[in-house]
């Protein structure tokens, strides 16, 4: 039964999403339980998949064939094939654990927000669709299914942005929708060009064709597809919509939205490493430049912000810049050894970044829950009211800026080392960025937590929200203290899964 795990991991959240609106009619508590149950089930499936990948390599699953492994009856893949190796197992693990934390956090958070039961029903079903879209996007080995799930993620996240139903959130959702629609259409154009060349849609099969001879049209479709996915990840020149989105989304959802950018980065690296086999050329440098730009702009812009969420949004963009820096150097210098370290540093940083930014956004959500305000000027002296919140904030702050005892340090160090060998200037920008990051959060800490005790209405945080935040904080500490455990059996297999191109293709043909 368990060899259906990949298909079930996508099907269960979808099934739960459809049933939520029915179950919602029965009662709120049952519906929340149903959502959490389905996510726990998917989490177990993904953990089982991770374990199975580590033991016996790439796991392929043909949807709809007589038996799961009947992949290419006519010598080439005909059906949609889910191909899971170390990288997307890790990415889907990040997606599922952050969403599970967000949903448990949402249990009480939503009651404070709005009483309208149907509205929250739809919120949960859209959230489940969003998760299923992300998992689907990371599992597929097929271009068109990638397009379908990419579109599903952007439609459901645009709908979620308009949760608060006030003018600005519709605006932000509208802008976000335009950009993802155009991006998806460009992706479709790229797929069309590839299909016209090879008559195939499966990534690995096309990779085999491209290996032989990289024609002019392949370069065109490569540029189309890469620009489409870059639109979705949002490095600096294209990041306008992301900041509005993060500001308007309910706080726990922003953590989930960050993982959607991380999945986008995974898809980008999958295409560049495994399909188009572009090694050490121009595209590596493009990603590095975009990464450096987003670190620099993200950090400087967030210094000026007044609104807590906007500041966190810019910090999140800077964090994604780090990941792109790591993967870009991994790509540009793949042949040399430090390219491999850079790549594994980048992948480890996706894990750390998801945890750190997730924790920080949950804290902003807690502040919003307690005081109904997100502007820094009129917050102050919260430390007196809830010491644990400020302790959590300190942990998050130190982890994000990469200080030794926490997980940020490990991955950033790996990135700095390898980037330094490639080009010392980049490493300098990286280190500068994380120092500035520390400055930002210090400023926030002083203005929000210290100062005169906060007198206005301060609703006590429910235990469930605090528990979730403490679990993430402990996880960050654990990763910081014993990084080797995470590295050698999660990250290094992921890195070499990306690098060795033949293994990916071997899975199919």
């Amino acid at each position: 039964m368990m060899e259906h795990a990949p298909a079930l991991a996508i099907a269960i959240p979808l099934f739960a999403a459809f049933a939520v609106s029915l179950i919602g009619k029965i009662g709120k508590r049952i519906r929340n339980m149903w959502v959490i149950l389905s996510l726990i089930l998917t989490e177990l499936l993904v953990i089982y998949l991770n374990y199975e990948i580590l033991t016996n390599g790439i796991h392929t699953y043909a949807l709809g064939a007589a038996l799961p492994s009947l992949i290419s009856p006519g010598g080439f893949p005909v059906r949609i094939i889910l191909e899971i190796d170390a990288v997307n197992a890790l990415v889907s693990f990040i997606v599922i654990s952050i969403t599970l934390a967000a949903v448990v956090y949402c249990w009480r958070f939503m009651q404070a927000i709005s009483k309208d039961r149907e509205h929250i029903d739809r919120f949960y079903s859209l959230l489940l669709l969003f998760t299923a879209g992300m998992i689907g996007m990371s599992f597929t080995g097929d271009f068109f299914t990638l397009f379908v799930f990419l579109e599903l993620t952007s439609v459901s996240s645009a709908a979620l942005v308009s949760f608060f139903r006030d003018g600005e959130s519709f605006e932000a959702a509208f802008k976000y929708m335009i950009i993802s629609a155009i991006g998806a259409l460009f992706l479709l154009l790229g797929i069309g060009i590839l299909y016209s060349q090879y008559g195939l849609l499966n990534m690995a099969a096309i990779a085999k064709e491209i290996m032989l001879h990289m024609s002019f049209l392949d370069k065109v479709s490569l540029s189309l597809i890469v620009s489409a996915i870059l639109l979705k990840i949002g490095p600096v020149p294209l990041h306008m919509w992301k900041v509005d989105i993060y500001q308007k989304l309910p706080a726990p959802l922003v953590a989930v939205c960050i993982t959607s950018s991380l999945v986008g980065i995974y898809v980008l690296s999958r295409i560049l490493f495994s399909v188009f086999f572009v090694m050490g050329s121009l595209s590596g440098w493009i990603i590095i430049i975009l990464g450096v730009l987003s670190i620099f702009v993200g950090v400087t812009m967030s210094l000026l912000q007044k609104n807590l969420k906007r500041m966190m949004a810019y910090a999140a963009i800077a964090e994604i810049g780090y990941v792109m820096l790591g993967i870009g150097t991994g790509l540009a210098a793949a042949s040399k050894d430090f390219g491999f370290i850079a790549l594994s540093g980048g992948i480890l940083h996706t894990l750390n970044d998801a945890l750190n930014m997730g924790l920080l956004f949950l804290i902003t959500g807690a502040i919003f829950y307690a005081t109904k305000k997100t502007d820094i000027r009129d917050l102050g002296g919260l430390a007196h009211r809830s010491a644990s919140l400020s302790a959590l904030f300190i942990i998050g702050m130190l982890a994000v800026s990469g200080l030794p005892p926490f997980n940020g340090f490990v991955s950033k160090l790996m990135i700095y080392e390898s980037v330094f060998c490639l080009n010392p200037l980049l490493a300098v920008v990286g280190i500068l960025g994380s120092i500035l990051m520390l400055a930002i959060f210090a400023k926030v800490f002083v203005s929000v937590f210290l100062g005169t005790p906060y007198r206005r209405k301060f609703k006590k945080m429910p235990a469930s929200m605090m528990a979730v935040m403490w679990i993430i904080a402990l996880f960050i500490l654990f990763l910081g203290m014993f990084p080797e455990m995470a590295i050698n059996n999660l990250v290094t297999p992921a890195a070499d899964a990306l690098i060795n191109h033949e293994a990916y293709m071997g899975g199919v043909i």
């Binding site: 009856p73 059906r79 879209g133 645009a158 709908a159 008559g199 065109v220």
Partner: protein, 76 residues
């Protein structure tokens, strides 16, 4: 400028590589039993695409409910 490349794709009538489609035409009927090969591709060979797309329609409807639905605060 990228769009101009669309012109060089290939002459309209003669797609160069059609093994996958020939596979569909030849044993589409045998494996799925539908006469209409397009439906067999849509539902059986590439069922996940149609499934994903039905969920997109569901997500769009849920999104529109959130945007345009009227606010009943009684939370029945």
């Amino acid at each position: 400028m990228l769009l101009a490349a669309v012109l060089f794709v290939h002459p309209l009538g003669k797609p160069p590589r059609t093994e996958m489609d020939d596979y569909f035409i030849l044993n589409g009927q045998a494996q799925t039993g539908c006469n209409n090969i397009v439906t067999s591709v849509v539902f059986d060979y590439r069922g996940m695409d149609t499934f994903g797309e039905a969920t997109i329609l569901f997500a769009a409807v849920a999104g529109i409910f959130m945007v345009l639905g009227e606010k009943n605060e009684k939370g029945q």
